[in-house]
């Protein structure tokens, strides 16, 4: 019993990271129609920038969490405003490959700036330590993450459903031309949404610093695949789907790692294949 609960909790916390990355990915896809391969790189940059603030500016953890992702937003702005914006109307392969080009660029920039080796961040004092759950210790920070995930979900839901700004975003995403003719400055809106999505991904990266304990230039690649799978399973463009998908994948992966280590990697892919065969548009996706 105890190990099951711990596995579930571990799965929930890793799932929440995937949710944070997938939320930005889904938002960007839902509004702009672009699948951003470089989103994993923003996650990675978020982690590295927060780490830098922590270590070199000597500021506290919260300062790192605040400033790091903001720095990454600048990168997101440049990518959308000067590059992505010009390829919206072109065929899908070119869009995907453009974002892939940025993956190559960012991954290597990180290696140049921060070195190719792994970095270990200083340990956390505030949210550090662990609490006993059912007789075994579980890190406090992970519980914190399990709380942050739904908080972000709630924030996004409130933003999109309850605010005037959110209504405009929803309108522009379903009909670009109509929104423009109603006076919405669609290009600026798209840039804003892309930067916000980037911020979400980078925030995930910043939050991951104490969690993973080690920063490597490859960390973007692994999480982007998981975020893709989650987004596809949930239905591309559906935030609700991404949240549910992240929970499911997180918990299932945790069970997989713990009880079936041989199938670890394949499990998530098999699940995605299964879902798509049953419902080609994902769990909550729109039927085209």
């Amino acid at each position: 019993m105890q190990s099951y609960v711990h596995v579930i909790l571990a799965g929930l916390s890793s799932g929440m990271f995937i949710w944070l990355v997938a939320s930005g990915l889904t938002l960007i896809f839902g509004v702009l129609g672009v699948l951003n391969f470089a989103h994993g790189s923003f996650y990675m940059l978020g982690a590295y920038c927060s780490f830098t603030v922590l270590k070199y500016l000597g500021a506290g953890y919260w300062a790192g969490l605040l400033l790091g992702p903001l720095a990454v937003c600048a990168a997101g702005f440049v990518v959308e405003r000067f590059f992505l914006r010009h390829v919206y109307r072109i065929a899908l392969p070119y869009q995907l490959l453009l974002t892939f080009a940025f993956v190559l660029i960012f991954d290597n920039l990180v290696k140049i700036v921060w070195g190719g080796g792994a970095l270990s961040p200083p340990s956390l004092s505030f949210l550090g330590g662990s609490v006993p759950i059912l007789g075994r210790n579980f890190p406090v920070y992970n519980l914190f993450i399990i709380a942050v995930g739904p908080a972000v979900a709630l924030l996004l839901w409130a933003l999109l459903e309850k605010t005037w700004y959110g209504r405009i975003i929803r309108a522009a995403s379903s009909d670009r031309e109509m929104a423009a003719s109603l006076g919405v400055r669609v290009p600026a809106l798209f840039t804003g949404v892309f930067v916000f999505g980037t911020w979400l991904g980078a925030l995930g990266g910043g939050l991951s610093v104490p969690y993973v304990g080690l920063l490597t230039p490859g960390m973007g690649e692994t999480i982007i695949i998981e975020a893709f799978i989650v987004a596809v399973i949930g239905g591309l463009g559906s935030l609700k789907g991404a949240f549910v998908g992240a929970l499911v994948i997180g918990v299932l992966s945790a069970f997989g790692t713990r009880f079936f280590p041989a199938f670890d990697m394949a499990l998530t892919f098999i699940l995605m294949g299964g879902v798509l065969l049953w419902r080609p548009q994902g769990l909550f996706g729109a039927t085209r």
Partner: protein, 322 residues
């Protein structure tokens, strides 16, 4: 007919140059040219799927790996005859492509890309985890280059790189010729129609899904051929061949050279391999440069190297109009 003869002449020149390489250059250049040809086979087959039919698959590395492991396992357990090994590798790739294709082809665009990505990574995971069969992350070892024995008692040794080179060249020329014929066939035109307008193709009486599956399997066969040749070249097969970053190579290379021509993927392969070798001497981060090149191409030169050059050539030789 002028363009046709011009292309035929160019092809003949390239073929002759390729034949001359082992006699005119050192070991490293021979090896490099073989790697270019292998990537060229992979890419030219892949471009039948992407450039001709408009389907973006992120999992073709799985078929490359199937070719490599197919040949390797055949060689270790059955026979080391190279031609049979290649046939086994291609057969393995075709079977896998049939399976994956049937699953994926009913989806379009993004979901197709994601599903093929997933299938590729599942294959990667299988090759990585099935240690007893595939050797796991150490790769499959013990692959040898036995002499090619044909009817009439002819035995052609391919142990040395200079000899194996012609084995590779033979399959390279064959692949390019087959790809060329397909592009200019009724099937090729139907594929182009599917790329341009799949819905209209249905209404023209073209069985779209069936043709998509056919070209998927065909491009998988090319990938399997390249994979089995690499297994012979490097004497091993590695799980990484199925990883999505390897699957991305024919995509990048075709885009670099130009999606709409036969020569595009080949030119792209040459540039890619050459760039990697040269720049890797100076810095570990050569992929950064490649990313920048990719960016430049997508933003302004979507025809790729070949497309941009032929457009310039046409403008230069145009009869003095504005």
């Amino acid at each position: 007919m002028k363009a046709q003869t011009r292309n035929a002449v160019a092809a003949a020149v390239v073929l002759l140059a390729l034949c001359a390489v082992p006699f005119l250059s050192g070991k490293f250049a021979i090896y490099l040219t073989m790697r270019i040809m292998l990537l060229g086979i992979f890419a030219v087959g892949y471009n039948l799927l992407l450039g001709q039919t408009g389907l973006l698959s992120f999992g073709h590395g799985a078929f490359y790996a199937a070719g490599a492991y197919g040949l390797g396992l055949f060689g270790v357990h059955v026979s080391t005859h190279p031609l049979l090994g290649v046939a086994a590798g291609v057969a393995a790739a075709v079977l896998l492509a049939l399976l994956v294709g049937t699953l994926c082809v009913r989806h379009t665009e993004i979901y197709f890309a994601m599903l093929t990505l997933a299938c590729g990574m599942m294959a990667f995971s299988f090759f990585w985890n099935a240690r007893e069969i595939t050797g796991g992350d150490d790769g499959l070892i013990g692959i040898v280059r036995a002499p090619v024995s044909l009817f009439g008692g002819i035995r052609m040794p391919i142990g040395k790189d200079e000899q194996f080179y012609f084995f590779v060249l033979f399959f390279f020329a064959l692949s390019v010729w087959v790809a060329h014929r397909i592009r200019h066939s009724p099937f090729g035109l139907a594929l182009a129609g599917i790329r341009e307008n799949a819905r209209r193709s249905e209404f023209a009486g073209v069985p779209v899904r069936r043709y998509r599956l056919a070209v998927f399997v065909l491009s998988g066969a090319f990938a399997g051929l390249a994979g089995s040749l690499e297994a012979l070249l490097e004497s091993n097969a590695r799980p990484f061949m199925a990883h999505w970053t390897h699957s991305a190579e024919p995509i990048l290379v075709s885009l670099l050279g130009g999606l709409s021509s036969l020569a595009g993927p080949l030119v792209g392969s040459a540039i890619f391999v050459a760039m990697r070798e040269i720049i890797q001497r100076f810095t570990e981060n050569w992929m950064l440069g490649f990313g920048v090149v990719l960016l430049v191409i997508i933003m302004g030169f979507r025809g790729g190297v070949v497309g941009t050059l032929s457009a310039l050539f046409r403008k230069a030789t145009a009869p003095g109009e504005g």
